[in-house]
């Protein structure tokens, strides 16, 4: 055989002879074009790749849960420490509480605001809802956007908004705090109009965790949120008190709590209250703030034992920044602040506090005082209705001027426990004063002339490092636009 054929011919003959074997592999070779594509290859089976398959209602669910994470998570904890309702005892929380925060800690919630579940998905929800003429759904989505970005502007001042989450802008600019807040006011107006339009197809109420698609409650909450925004600009221009009052009078007027804009939490693993989970899993990171503990104790306010864990006032301890002892009482997660606690974002009592403050600023102190006491009546009833039958909170008589505004703002501070708005209230009014029951300053660095109280959050490290338009050196003591004095 070796000499019968030339080498090349030999190869050809051999190929023919053994064609069966080569066919064996050609089965694979011929399938090559298809081998890199097909089911589980052309699509991520763990995701839905088409927005038309994912309904706008399902996206709204994603956004609501995401925004719970933003409004009740680290940002909420950071504000509670600035306002000394809670104290930071360990790790980065100790640093936060001692006015030495780290910018990386705001990365996560900032990213959530703009990204998945945040503005990107809110925009998609609104586009789809509008095209499908689901105006109530559209309005609800707009309201969540309004709450989220008005709060963000309260925390940071200028933030990306008009160009954010917009594919036409690869480097979003930072809008001023005023631009953001007034754009949000327009958005709320648009939401109110959409609520008023209604929609032909019924919005399944389960998808709206707040009011079960009750348009009336949404419109009232929209006015209260507008009122809050106007109020937060009143330090710049006193005329906003009048606008805030007018909006509040259209706002949430139901003292039962059923008209309050709250989150929704339950006992299921996926639905547990964020504060509850945090305290459980990060025991000793945070405890009670001495400022709030002293204030509640001073006023014989029953909420001391509702807010914090301990048997009676003698067992409730708070910590101030700089304290060497870190033995603070825990948030009462075995009581009201358990796994089902749904923090309140915009409420009847806030609406009433706004009315009272506006009346005070507009010169109607008597109405302000009566509104204050009416609000405290309502709050007391709510706590009693929640199972704290003997709950007692203070009332005020015959007070006026500074005493009245101090009482009003201190009561609002106590009532807005773990509510981010309390920071704006302090910036605007200077209440509560950061002085404990022994008349010592509780400001950071109080032993060394005092560093003060932070007035804003640090921009997150991620935005600073990637967006050249992000202010690089904004510090925590810098004043915001609506906080000039």
């Amino acid at each position: 055989m070796a000499s019968k054929y030339g080498s090349t011919i030999k190869l050809v003959i051999m190929l023919k002879r053994y064609k069966l074997l080569f066919f064996f592999n050609f089965i694979f070779l011929s399938s090559c074009d298809d081998f890199l594509s097909g089911p589980l290859l052309d699509q991520n089976p763990n995701e839905v790749d088409d927005v038309s398959v994912v309904s706008a209602e399902a996206l709204l669910v994603g956004s609501q849960v995401t925004i719970y994470g933003i409004m009740e998570g680290y940002l909420n904890r950071a504000v509670s420490m600035v306002m000394q309702q809670m104290s930071g005892l360990q790790t980065d929380y100790y640093r936060d509480y001692n006015c030495d925060p780290i910018d990386v800690n705001t990365n996560g919630r900032w990213t959530a605001m703009y990204g998945t579940g945040g503005l990107v998905d809110l925009n998609t929800t609104q586009e789809v809802a509008e095209s499908q003429e689901k105006y109530i759904l559209l309005g609800i989505s707009q309201m969540w956007e309004a709450l989220l970005f008005s709060t963000a502007a309260d925390l940071w001042g200028s933030i990306p908004y008009s160009q954010a989450a917009n594919p036409n802008f690869s480097v979003p600019k930072f809008d001023s705090q005023e631009q953001v807040h007034f754009a949000v006011l327009d958005l709320i107006d648009s939401a109110i109009l959409n609520f008023q339009k209604g929609q032909i197809f019924t919005l399944p109420s389960d998808y709206d965790f707040t009011f079960g698609a009750d348009v009336g409650k949404w419109i009232a909450a929209a006015h209260t949120l507008k009122s809050r925004i106007y109020l937060n600009w009143a330090e710049v221009d006193n005329s906003y008190y009048q606008l805030a009052l007018e909006e509040a009078q259209l706002g949430i007027l139901d003292p039962s709590g059923l008209g309050d804009w709250t989150s929704l939490h339950g006992s299921a693993i996926a639905e547990r209250s964020i504060w509850f989970q945090f305290i459980l899993s990060n025991s000793d990171y945070m405890g009670a703030g001495k400022l709030l503990v002293d204030m509640l104790e001073r006023d014989n306010d029953s909420r001391l034992n509702i807010y914090f864990l301990g048997n009676g006032p003698s067992e409730i301890f708070g910590v101030s920044p700089g304290d060497s002892v870190q033995n603070a009482s825990m948030l009462n997660i075995t009581g009201h602040y358990g796994m089902q606690w749904s923090p309140e974002f915009v409420t009847w009592y806030e609406n009433n506090f706004i009315i009272a403050e506006c009346h005070f600023k507009l010169g109607n102190e008597a109405i302000a005082l009566s509104t204050l006491n009416e609000t405290l009546d309502g709050i007391e009833q709510v706590w009693r209705g929640r199972g704290f039958a003997s709950a007692v909170i203070p009332r005020y008589e015959n007070i006026s001027g500074d005493t009245l505004i101090a009482a009003l703002m201190n009561e609002k501070y106590k009532a807005l426990f773990l509510n981010i708005q309390s920071w704006s209230d302090w910036r605007r009014t200077g209440y509560p004063k950061f002085i404990d029951s022994a008349n010592n300053s509780t400001e950071c660095g109080s032993t060394d002339n005092g560093l003060g109280v932070p007035r804003r959050l640090l921009y997150p490290e991620k935005e600073k490092s990637s967006n050249p338009k992000c202010p690089q050196n904004a510090g925590i003591y810098d004043r915001l636009e609506n906080d000039p004095f």
Binding site: E47, A58, Y74, D103, K462, E463, Q472
Partner: protein, 1123 residues
């Protein structure tokens, strides 16, 4: 062909006419006259052969028909010696001179051996142009480790292996020639008998990259019975591994398993028994009790309480009651054990060969069992724990391999391994549920036993000493609770193997086809009973099923053109299809209803999660090897890979390699040089992107994190929600690439008794894939993209020396050295030089572990950490904490003569915390690794060996220390101030003794030789609780606790004794050998934690210690019977 005819003739003759058997006796000796026991002696051209006995003698009975023209060729070979062929004349034998002695020349370089170089191609070692290292099977067989990776420690230059801990079935971090990837794993591709196998380590909770806070999971590398391995080749550089294309940038490990041989069936039985124990007791203080502020506070987390009256304290008063203290670490440990039994049989005839093995390996870690615990308490009230043994591992394997000559040209080989692996792990690393957390943080005066409250039987810990509810109010778990009540089990059923068809079409062309598969079902149960710290003690149960499957079809056609055209060229062309899928189903139950009952129905809150993935790879390759003038050897290859993970716009990629070698000793060879070769190689290898990086859609996670151990899910309020993916799709994603040059030389000196091999390499990994930060306000978070490059360059040296080769004493020595220098060259367009001029915020950086980050201009994984204000970083600080004082750039203060990382000390004598993380200048990568191996043979029967494993340079972040400083349990906090020391009424008061205890300057607390510089540098401070908490604790400086991770370990010392053939008349007189060995008996290191080798991130990255698990020493005895 003629040999087959010869065999045929032999068969016919013996059948028809009868055959005379000729006996050939002889000896195989070294040149120095040493009998070489176990040498192979075979008849060339046949499969007949035998091995020499303990006297180096052999005996062959050969049919006279084998003699062709009255002549026969006999070959003797022995590892480490040059084989020799001798001619035997029939007439000489007839004259009774049938004593054939072979004298073999030394060859410590094993130049003569033939090794697999990839895609089934074999090549003589002497002709290699690339760096491929072979591990002898004895190294693997003798290792008591259950994981193949751990067994390789100290055996291959440039292969860095760090075993995670001393727990049972533990896995290891390993990498070859440094890390050149960010998000990809650093683990090499492993090919077993021509088919890739899974080496995944899938962490509980589904993460493939294991993270802290989870029980350790065994690696799939632990499923291989090491007695099945014939040899291991490590393809270290891209030039060697390029033929595996887009999966090979981390190097390739080729495993060849044992096969049957013709002739007498050989049976081998091995039994090993060993013990193990913790190699270090952690330094904890024993002089101060539980409490806060100097006083006892029951249930408190801190050990900043009262001064204890204990015997070794300077204030000890024998007239007062001595306080009871406990050494928690010593108390909770005992001697662990391990055993292994394996049996294998191999044999065959001219047509069919077989190999069969079974094995069973068991390891029990050094943690106290419940049975032993029972003896330490008065009663357990009949309690049944969740598990009796806290950490053990059981592997059963079965392997069969057979080969059959279908025709005279076609061979079919099939093999299949089955492994059944059961792992029972302990939660490790930093986790409040972890073992070490409670073990090291519990105050010394708290008795951890019993761990169940005697009156309630509820979980009892130092943070909840009198539990009033089952849920408890713990800050961490009692470590005994972790051992006996928590349970993390892993049960793996795995089968892998392949079918090979080899067709020798003619003398110059052959065809190979391999179809391989690897399938595993990995089932996990992660039980935390009610009362466990996590989630407030409500109880949790996670069950996971993980199905992992790989199919691989590999076709090659090999042509030897020398036989066809007389052209010295060999060509291999081939085609490869590969399919990998992963399916994971996870069910989580929370809120346990009935205690001590662990069924998913017994949990009131359930959630489920599912994950699927599939990757297809399709490749073509061609390789040519040419020999020129019998001294120049050139190999070149190209592979084209298409993968479903690459972007559709850029779907196919080429990987090229070239290598050349010049055996210069054929042209020039001084007398001392018996072989000399220069080699140069260049190659490209790749790493695939993660699966589905090219897609971005909408997801409905059952749970997603919103930070700090808080999760929410989208199955909410009875409806299902969706969110967009937070990763932007990248349709242009392409593989990472490693371009590598290497130069080297291999020298054999002094008649082959000394060998030196040196390789210098320079590898640039580019197009490195990582999750690039997108400006968050654009609405995207991250995008998986190609955008970084990393350089690894280094030098590898192997030095083999047969020091003595005498009849009664033989001494072989081997030293290996491998240095690696790593630099991140560029990320997202920013180079190291550009980074020097940019604002710190604008320099790309990627965190890859708690402290390790990657950023241009830095070493891979350099620690970026919180710090005190230190010099040399351009830091400006508010030096007197006054808001009205401007910040001061401390580096510019003229009166200070500082060095980098010296610490600024404020006027109060204390450092000042800086508000941002800084680059520490320390990284976990060692400067060099190596080993020193010596083996001494005393006579014919006794062999002594010793292996030192060396890792020099590199650091480890001992963050455990930060934490223990804060809790007040670390041994260093023994030197602390307590108010009693200044109280003359206190029983231990002694002016000048107790009054000076726990005081000094801050300088005394600073490590690394850094100086304390500043206005308060000489101020005497008290080392109080406040100082430790606020200046030494978790949210303070980490650099001070970054420690040198260098070590030299006595990795193994062993004595083996070959008793020879037992002539007892039992069991058919087997050959018996015994081996005594001890591993890791001694570690020389300056590291203050458990062990510098301990690793938090298991297989992903080394260098961080945050409540890691300890390492162990081991001692083993192995007994081997062979027939």
């Amino acid at each position: 062909m003629k040999y087959l005819l010869l065999l045929f003739n032999l068969f016919i003759h013996s059948y028809l006419f009868g055959v005379d058997l000729i006996t050939v006796n002889g000896k195989v000796l070294s040149e120095s006259g040493l009998e070489l026991i176990g040498s192979n002696v075979s008849v060339l051209g046949t499969s007949l052969g035998t091995a020499t006995d303990i006297n180096g003698t052999f005996r062959l009975e050969l049919p006279n028909t084998l003699f062709d023209n009255n002549t026969l060729f006999l070959k003797a070979s022995y590892i480490g010696y040059i084989s020799k062929v001798d001619t035997i004349k029939l007439k000489d034998i007839i004259k009774n001179t049938n004593q054939i002695n072979f004298n073999l020349k030394a060859d410590v370089m094993r130049l003569e051996s033939v090794i697999v170089t990839g895609i089934g191609v074999q090549q003589e070692t002497r002709k290699l142009g690339v760096s491929i290292e072979t591990v002898r099977k004895e190294k693997i067989e003798n290792s008591p480790e259950v994981s193949l990776v751990s067994a390789l420690r100290g055996n291959v230059s440039g292969l860095e292996v760090r075993k995670t801990s001393g727990d049972a079935g533990t896995n290891a971090f390993f990498r070859i020639r440094g890390t050149g990837t960010i998000s990809g794993g650093s683990q090499p591709l492993v090919i077993l008998d021509g088919s890739p196998i899974s080496t995944r380590t899938i962490d509980s909770g589904g993460r493939e990259t294991s993270e802290r806070g989870h029980p350790e999971s065994s690696s799939r590398m632990a499923d291989i019975n090491m007695d099945d391995i014939e040899s291991i080749q490590v393809l270290k550089g891209a030039a060697a591994s390029a033929i595996y294309g887009s999966r090979a940038s981390n190097g390739v490990i080729l495993i060849t398993t044992k096969s049957g041989t013709t002739g007498k069936t050989k049976i081998n039985y091995k039994m090993t028994y060993g013990i193990s124990g913790m190699n270090k007791i952690y330094p904890l203080q024993q002089r101060f009790g539980q409490g806060d502020g100097g006083d006892f506070v029951g249930g408190n987390s801190y050990s900043w309480g009262k001064v204890l009256n204990v015997k070794d304290a300077p204030w000890y008063d024998s007239n007062r009651e001595t306080n009871q203290v406990y050494n928690h670490v010593e108390d909770i440990t005992e001697i662990g054990n391990n055993y292994e039994q394996s049996i294998s049989a191999l044999g065959g005839n001219e047509k069919t060969t077989f190999y069969f093995s079974m094995s069973q390996s068991y390891e029990r870690a050094h943690w106290q069992t419940f049975n032993e615990y029972k003896k330490t308490v008065s009663t357990i009230f009949g309690h049944e724990p969740t598990r009796d043994v806290p950490s053990d591992f059981l592997r059963k394997t079965f392997r069969v391999k057979g080969s059959h000559l279908l025709t005279d040209k076609m061979t079919l080989t099939a093999s299949m391994s089955y492994a059944n692996v059961y792992g029972n792990q302990v939660i490790r690393a930093h986790s409040t549920d972890g073992l070490a957390k409670g073990l090291l943080s519990t105050p010394p005066d708290f008795n951890l036993r019993p761990y169940l409250d005697p009156s309630t039987q509820y979980h009892r810990s130092s943070t909840d000493p009198y539990p009033e509810s089952r849920d408890g109010d713990h800050k961490w778990n009692n470590p005994y609770w972790v051992l006996y009540e928590l349970s993390q089990t892993q049960s793996v059923e795995r089968a892998f193997g392949n079918i090979k068809l080899r067709y020798n079409i003619n003398s110059w062309l052959n065809l190979n086809y391999i179809l391989g598969t690897d399938f595993s079902l990995d089932q996990r149960n992660d039980i935390m009973p009610t009362g466990t710290y996590r989630s407030g003690g409500i109880g949790r149960y996670i069950h996971e099923d993980i199905l992992d499957q790989e199919w691989d079809s590999h076709f090659t056609l090999s042509m030897d053109l020398k036989k066809l055209y007389k052209l010295p060229l060999k060509l291999v062309a081939g085609h490869n299809l590969n399919s990998r899928s992963l399916k994971r189903f996870e069910t989580t139950g929370e809120q346990q209803v009935l205690p001590n009952y662990y069924q998913i129905e017994n949990y009131s809150s359930l959630s489920a999660d599912q994950y699927l993935s599939l990757v297809h790879l399709e490749s073509f390759f061609i390789q040519g090897s040419m020999d020129l003038l019998d001294q120049f050897y050139i190999t070149s290859a190209i592979r084209n890979d298409g993968s479903s993970t690459f972007g559709p716009a850029d779907r196919r990629h080429n990987f090229f390699k070239f290598s050349s070698a010049w055996e210069f000793s054929k042209s020039y060879a001084p007398s001392f040089l018996s072989f000399g070769k220069l080699r140069f190689a260049y190659g490209q290898a790749g790493e695939e992107p993660r699966v589905y990086a090219i897609f971005s859609g909408y997801t409905s996670p059952s749970l997603f994190s919103v930070g700090e151990k808080v999760s929410l899910g989208l199955n909410y309020n009875g409806v299902t929600g969706y969110r967009s993916d937070d990763e932007v799709s990248n349709l242009r994603i392409r593989p990472e690439r490693r371009d590598e040059y290497e130069f080297g030389t291999d020298l054999s000196l002094f008649d082959g008794s000394m060998g030196v091999s040196m390789t210098m390499y320079n590898a640039i990994s580019s197009d490195i894939i990582y999750d690039i930060d997108v400006i968050p306000s654009t609405g995207a978070d991250e995008m998986t993209a190609n955008g970084a490059s990393i350089q690894n360059k280094g030098l590898e040296v192997t030095f083999d020396y047969r020091v003595l080769d005498k009849q009664k004493l033989k001494w072989e020595s081997k030293f290996i050295y491998a240095s690696n220098k790593n630099t991140v060259l560029e990320m997202n367009g920013v180079t190291g030089n550009m980074a020097k001029t940019l604002d710190a915020n604008l320099i790309p950086s990627r965190g890859i572990a708690k402290f390790s980050e990657v950023s241009p201009g830095h070493e891979y994984a350099e620690f970026k950490v919180l710090t005190w204000a230190r010099f040399g970083h351009g830091l400006s600080i508010d030096h007197d904490l006054d808001i009205n004082t401007p910040n001061v750039g401390i580096d510019t203060i003229p009166e200070y003569n500082w060095g980098k990382n010296d610490v600024y000390i404020g006027k109060n004598g204390l450092p000042i915390m800086y508000s941002e993380k800084i680059w520490s200048g320390y990284a976990p990568n060692p400067d060099w690794t190596g080993s020193f191996f010596n083996e001494v043979s005393l006579g014919k029967k006794i062999k002594l060996s010793c292996l030192l494993d060396i890792s020099i340079g590199g650091h480890i972040a001992n963050y455990t220390k930060n934490s223990l400083y804060e809790w007040g349990t670390h041994g260093d906090t023994d030197k602390r101030y307590h108010p009693d020391f200044d109280n003359p009424d206190w029983f231990g008061y002694e002016d000048g003794v107790s009054t000076e205890w726990g005081k000094g300057t801050f300088q005394d607390l600073i490590n690394h030789g850094h100086k304390a510089i500043g206005p308060g540098q000489d101020t005497i401070i008290v080392y109080s609780q406040n100082m430790y908490e606020n200046f030494m604790g978790r949210n303070t400086d980490v650099i001070n606790n970054i420690e040198d991770a260098s070590y030299i370990k006595l990795r193994e010392i062993a004595l083996s004794y070959n008793l020879g053939k037992l002539k007892t008349g039992y069991l058919n007189n087997p050959n018996l050998s015994v081996r005594f060995s001890a591993q890791d008996l001694k570690t020389w290191t300056n590291y203050g934690g458990w062990d510098p080798e301990t690793n938090m991130y298991q297989d992903r990255i080394s260098g961080e210690d945050y409540f890691n698990q300890p390492q162990t020493w081991r001692a083993n005895m192995a007994l081997q019977l062979s027939w």
